[in-house]
């Protein structure tokens, strides 16, 4: 593996450390509702407003510090995101973001995997051509094999570059996914299945059917 690639990847990963450090502080500390640089009058208004809000929603409201603690759902989401990028976000109710992360990461990983497969194949082809080159009986044959080797090598390098690029993207998306699930994704709460799909819109789904195989179902809500 190229040192530059290793360096960039590690550098990108270690970028997460300050963010993680900040995260821990955010989850353990209650937010300061009285900023020190505000005038006293504004501070008083803020406190009055806060008490009113607490009074109005006393049954449903929670302290901010409690809201940002590690709940079971949050821990589950982090584990899910570590295993399948984007699944934690989906679990917490951010379906679009979760889907984008899942598709992006798996798409990049798929391209990287295919490129890796091509690299392996081209390496084997290069081995075969080397053997042919060494036993070539004359210059003309050796030159033909040599030209094939040069062409194979250029394809091999291109595939390796593509693999490295998409591997970087996949790792970057995975790290971004982890940072996002830990830092920026709040829990939208558990909702019954299909409860959000009541607004007017059209959906297409592939439904497995034992007799017919797979059926495409188009649903339009007015």
């Amino acid at each position: 593996m190229k040192p530059a690639f290793l360096f960039h990847t590690l550098f990108f990963c270690f970028l997460a450390f300050p963010i993680l450090a900040r995260t821990q502080e955010t989850w353990t500390k209650a937010p300061d509702i009285n900023p020190p640089n505000l005038p006293q009058v504004e501070k008083a208004e803020l406190n009055v407003g806060r008490k009113n809000m607490e009074g109005a929603f006393s049954s449903a409201s929670q302290e901010p510090s409690q809201q940002e603690e590690w709940t079971k759902r949050k821990i589950t989401a982090v584990i899910l995101s570590a295993l399948i990028p984007g699944s934690g976000q989906t679990y917490l109710g951010h379906t679009e973001k979760g889907a984008a992360l899942t598709i992006g990461t798996f798409g990049s990983a798929l391209i990287a995997g295919l490129s890796e497969n091509n690299v392996v194949g081209r390496n084997e082809r290069l081995d075969e051509l080397k053997a042919q080159y060494l036993i070539a009986p004359n210059y003309v044959t050796a030159d033909q094999v040599w030209n094939q080797m040069v062409e194979t090598k250029s394809i091999l390098d291109r595939e390796a570059r593509r693999r490295d690029l998409f591997l970087k993207i996949a790792i970057g998306l995975w790290v971004a996914n982890m940072v996002d699930i830990i830092l920026f994704t709040d829990d939208r709460g558990e909702k019954p299945f299909g409860a959000r799909a009541t607004e007017p819109r059209a959906t297409v789904a592939l439904v497995p059917d034992l007799r017919e195989g797979i059926q495409a179902v188009l649903t339009v809500r007015f």
Binding site: M1, A16, N123, A160, L167
Partner: protein, 147 residues
């Protein structure tokens, strides 16, 4: 702190495993077919007549004498045709004990020709000792013979 360390270890292990799993692209070997057999250099030809009046073409060429993987040269000729398949082997010239090789072509096809001139093309092919490797053919030498 534990969570941070756990996450850092997770990321590091993931990246390390992914990087270690990648295949390193191979490098090309050094091309040796250009120099496996010494190339024919400075191929020259002179047309003249023998004392008996026969037309003769004298070919001379050089080679890298530091490369000892040379046994002989095939002298090929083509008349009025530049196609690769039209070259006919004339003779095998052995490596001389000292100096550079040469070849005198006074065959019958050079003695009489219908037109005013005759285009003769020569190509020299070196033969190596190791594995009987046939080396890179020389550039084509074009000689025009006139009546």
């Amino acid at each position: 702190m534990t969570k941070r360390v756990f996450f850092a270890c997770l990321v590091f292990n993931f990246v390390y495993l992914v990087l270690q799993g990648c295949t390193e692209p191979q490098d090309l070997i050094t091309p040796e077919h250009f120099t496996r057999v010494p190339r024919v250099l400075n191929l020259q030809g002179v047309s003249s007549f023998t004392p008996s009046g026969k037309r003769v073409v004298v070919l001379t060429w050089h080679y890298d004498t530091t490369n000892t993987n040379i046994r002989s040269w095939d002298v090929t000729r083509s008349i009025n045709d530049t196609a690769t398949a039209a070259y006919v082997p004339l003779e095998i010239v052995r490596k001389p004990v000292a100096g550079y090789p040469s070849y005198m072509d006074s065959s019958g096809s050079l003695q009489t020709f219908v037109n005013d001139s005759l285009d003769v093309y020569y190509k020299i092919i070196p033969n190596g000792i190791l594995n009987n490797f046939v080396g890179q053919p020389s550039d084509v030498l074009h000689i025009i013979l006139r009546k």
